[in-house]
Amino acid sequence: MKNIKRALEKLRKVRKKQHHPLLYEIHKKHKISKKTLFYIKEYGTEKKVISTVLKESIKILIFASIISAFGGLGLEEIKARFIAIIPLLVLMPALNDMIGDYGTIISSKFATMLHKGKIKGRLSKIPELRGLFFKIFTIALITTILGFIASILISYYVKSYQVTLLTGIKIFSIVIIDVIFLISLLFISSVLLGLYIYRKKEDPNNFLIPITTSVADFANMLILAGLVILFF
């Protein structure tokens, strides 16, 4: 037992950029999985957890904020027109949430698949990844339609905003185009970035969620702004 503790302490002290054969030695001798050892090495002590998380996350979160702010610029420019379409204003946070949620689910599930060693060979032939794609797509369509109907009803009851058939079709088209485009973007960016980060021996959990969600957020705002200009 003492030996394991000493070995793990040694492993925690190994610098990140150094090759660490110790990991393989502990794995072999004490039968602890390499993934567990990777996690222990990455987030060893309390102090190390804070510095690792801050170091790995801060740049990406600031980057995400800048990207999101740029996305918001698009809407700020057409603010007057945008806030006049009440159902879209009501639906905007839900849409943003949805995109963020799917980004988080896709990213964290893909990160777990990577950690578990399930991502091998051609990506399109991995049943778990294919299943995830079709499930997310189906759920996104169901929730978008429900959200659209709810936003129309809310606008009517809260702000007495009456939607004509034409306006309804326009709002529905905006929302559906936006969601289909963004789910595809989320998948592509999560998979490509996840693979890249994992190959660089970093934990994709710390990077994937902020990057994918902010890219999707940025695209969401710009697409919404563009479609509002196009349709209204």
Binding site: I50, P93, A94, N96, M98
Partner: protein, 180 residues
């Protein structure tokens, strides 16, 4: 592996909860349009501010889930060094990112709109601290609770965090607006 399996049901149900949360925020925005959205630069600030909560708490939950699944974190012991470290890091991140968002919106107001709106710096900072206090603890306890109950927190925590984050962030923004 069935298409409509447990994963599908978990994601769909949590997504429905998320939609409800988003719509609640939408209602608040529609009602308080004149108070919230007419502040110059608010639409520059708002998406990033709402997103931040999901980014920080989502990553926190994802890291904790990985630790729980790998057996590095004991599901019965929340008070451990690794969990405390994660909470402290998430709090620091929240303060720094809120400040950055405020500065970005301030610069936008100054450069594009030629207006000096100092409140736009303090608004996300104070609101961020208030929302963070609520959100991090919700994330922590929900992740552990779900794992102990045999669920995969990865399926539920994403939507859950963004929903609660959106609501707490919008409420925190309104409270801060009243304070300022």
């Amino acid at each position: 592996m069935s298409f409509f399996d447990r994963d599908f049901k978990e994601i769909l149900s949590s997504e429905l909860v998320s939609i409800i949360g988003g719509l609640l925020v939408g209602i608040v925005l529609a009602i308080y349009t004149d108070k919230l959205l007419l502040i110059p630069g608010m639409l520059v600030l708002l998406p990033g501010f709402l997103e931040m909560r999901g980014n920080i708490s989502g990553s926190l939950s994802s890291r904790l889930s990985s630790g729980l699944f790998l057996g590095v974190i004991n599901p019965k012991k929340i008070k451990s060094k690794i969990v405390t470290g994660n909470v402290i890091a998430a709090t620091i991140l929240s303060i720094l990112v809120s400040l950055a968002l405020g500065l970005i919106a301030f610069l936008f107001d100054y450069i594009v709109l030629h207006q000096v709106v100092v409140e736009i710096i303090f608004l996300p900072l104070i609101a961020g601290i208030i929302a963070n206090l609520i959100e991090i603890f919700i994330t922590l306890f929900a992740t552990f609770y779900l794992f102990r109950k045999g669920h995969d927190p990865n399926n539920i925590m994403g939507p859950f965090v963004t929903t609660t984050g959106d609501i707490s962030s919008t409420l925190a923004l309104l409270i801060t607006l009243m304070i300022i």
